[in-house]
């Protein structure tokens, strides 16, 4: 009964013709216009085209792996966060974050001070040098976003920001596993 609903993203008649007309790879056009899972494809495709260039640049310029920079960036937004919070908000497993934290401490980009009250966890804080790196990196990141969002009008950008925010806000209500289909029982 949702046959119509799942076709929301598939309103272009002919992916091949569209691809030819827009300099788009034919398979990309198919995934864009003839894909029942239109949402996840667009999400992943766009995320990819942000992450690749940006983390490539950071890696090359500062020698930081992606999880390391994720920690740094998280602290630049909220200094004193714990490894746990960073892990959950970024989606990297806590083991990966733990390693990143150690590496950043060795490089004196962050400091770890025991949390008063709970001796299992630690406040993580940027050093001056760590802050310098996040400051310096913000410009190219913003520039990349600007570039990617350029096709939209300001009103459209605002609309997009709102729609995505609505979804993020709802995330805590989502189950963290896909239910096995009824045939599996």
């Amino acid at each position: 009964m949702d046959a119509l609903e799942s076709r929301i993203g598939m309103l272009w008649p002919d992916a091949a013709a569209f691809a030819a007309g827009h300099g788009l790879d034919p398979l990309v056009a198919t995934k864009l216009w003839e894909n029942p899972c239109w949402f996840s494809f667009r999400l992943n495709y766009l995320a990819l085209h942000f992450n690749g260039p940006v983390y490539g640049y950071i890696q090359e310029r500062h020698g930081l792996m992606r999880p390391e920079y994720v920690v740094l960036y998280s602290l630049s937004l909220k200094d004193g966060s714990t490894a746990k919070a960073i892990s959950e908000s970024s989606g990297f497993p806590k083991t990966t974050i733990s390693r990143a934290v150690q590496s950043l401490i060795e490089r004196r980009l962050i400091e770890r001070t025991p949390d008063s009250g709970d001796r299992r966890s630690f406040r993580l804080e940027l050093t001056a040098e760590g802050r310098r790196i996040t400051d310096e990196t913000l410009t190219p990141m913003l520039e990349r976003e600007r570039l990617m969002l350029a096709p939209l009008s300001p009103a459209e950008r605002f609309m997009l920001a709102e729609l995505l925010a609505k979804l993020v806000v709802a995330a805590p209500t989502w189950p963290d596993a896909v239910l096995p289909g009824p045939a599996t029982v």
Copy 2:
């Protein structure tokens, strides 16, 4: 001068208060409402909450790694695609796709036939068994998208689909590296 522009996604006054009111992790709220790079965060966060559950399920139920399933799914949309096209449309490096293809051939989920005309490349095609798996997996994938998009009205979903599509269409015009800032020269 774009100070305003980059604050598009940051229109909520107090992330901490918002988090408390919505059962949202405080760091997530900060990344949502006090983050100059609002776009990439929302993109990655949502992609993550699709990929994790869905690929976890596929891995568990069918023993397929993510790149393997990406190949399978790509062929379910456009049978006869080449490894190259799959690599570029999915963002996985060609070496990873190559390995996935080999594994899928061994498991008789796809077949490889030499491309008439260019003997370097191969048409990849689903076997009946491969098709069975993509058919069977589509339901939980659609269900996950439905769940994630549930907070939006049909009109909003349509709007979101359109906005994201506009961006994907523009992707071929994006440089594939972030320019080094002027201070780097």
